[in-house]
Point group: C2
Chain length 185, copies 2
DNA sequence: GAATTCATGTAACTTGTTACATGATTTA
DNA sequence: TAAATCATGTAACAAGTTACATGAATTC
């Protein structure tokens, strides 16, 4: 149940609409906590009912009215309590569709598996490139929102994705080479 | 929807009960695809309804009767089709409770964050140690089940967890040092 | 002329988690 | 004597995904 806390975390920076939150989730937090727009709207309703956030309507002429949410004192307390309660870290590796197939891949031709590993490596490299856009966005946001001290924490967190992607590339390359050794083509 | 396919993959090796499957999930596949026992039983019913697996009762005297499931021809086909349809690899980093708190951790004292990072590192080290038990179990199973060629694939897959855990340790150590530099205590 | 952006949501569905229920046997 | 193992499940709940609905303005 961390989506509402992620939302609270963002609303501490400034009031936002569901749509604003979606942009932030997509552009900055995808690698930490992705969220669907439908899920965000549903969660916002629940959070308002709990009194963690409040809202007001900002009428617009050419666009649909904006429903702007802001965090309440209750929300601040809830967020703080959550933040201080660090969980045991879970294994990151859980429920990976690619690895599950790999686990059972003795039923596949070595050539097919080699092909999939190459593709995997390319995708991870793209992931690393995408990280640069994320960093640019966060830099912009920390200026805009006037919370310069947060950028340091954001960057620390985000580096995780790149480090993991790099580790996975090494893993896949290693697997590839083992396959070539075992089944030279 | 990969839990049923994981189950099919295992039943290819040999017929098993829900309880047997749970043991295999816990001991060998936790880092790839964890599953609750209640989820397994539910899934087995659905899979039998679809005709992917069949079952027969093995009466026991001192223990509850065993309901042993085996894969059908239909199940084999379904499994093969799934196996060949490798997905785009998703970012592994998604939905991590620890990182989400880290992302917003400017609200925490640097000392607290340092403490949590140390704990994180210890937990990852334990994770790496646990991997050795997994490897021993898989070695035993590949002998027992008479599928020696699978062990190679299992090991390739499992190494992923250790590699990721090692990468995360480096990440956390890096963060720790940056914190010490920024906030010397 | 088609796709994207801004802006709101609802409904149905799928998947995963937690709690409950039973009960004999074995190990610590 | 308490906990773990073997062995079956059901029910309720929580969380995530996909599909649907609307519609003007803007960009490609």
């Amino acid at each position: 149940m961390s989506l509402p806390h992620a939302v609270l975390g963002m609303l501490r920076y400034r009031p936002m609409t569901g749509y604003d939150l979606k942009l932030f989730f997509d552009k900055a937090m995808e690698s930490v906590w992705p969220a669907q727009i439908s899920q965000i709207y549903r969660e916002l309703s629940l959070m308002e009912a709990k009194g963690w956030i409040g809202s007001h309507i900002e009428p617009q002429e050419t666009r649909p009215d904006r429903k702007v949410y802001s965090i309440t004192d209750d929300g601040e307390v809830t967020f703080k309590e959550w933040l201080e309660k660090f969980p045991r870290s879970l294994s990151v590796t859980t429920r990976d569709d690619f690895s599950l197939r790999m686990f059972f891949s003795s039923g596949l031709s070595p050539e097919e598996l080699k092909f999939q590993l190459k593709r995997f490596i390319r995708e991870k490299q793209d992931e690393i490139s995408d990280q640069q856009a994320v960093e640019r966005y966060l830099e912009k946001m920390s200026e805009e929102m006037g919370h310069p001290e947060d950028e340091f924490h954001w960057r620390m967190t985000l580096r995780r994705s790149s480090i993991l992607a790099e580790a996975l590339i090494l893993w896949a390359e290693d697997c590839y080479e083992e396959l070539v050794e075992k089944y030279p083509s």
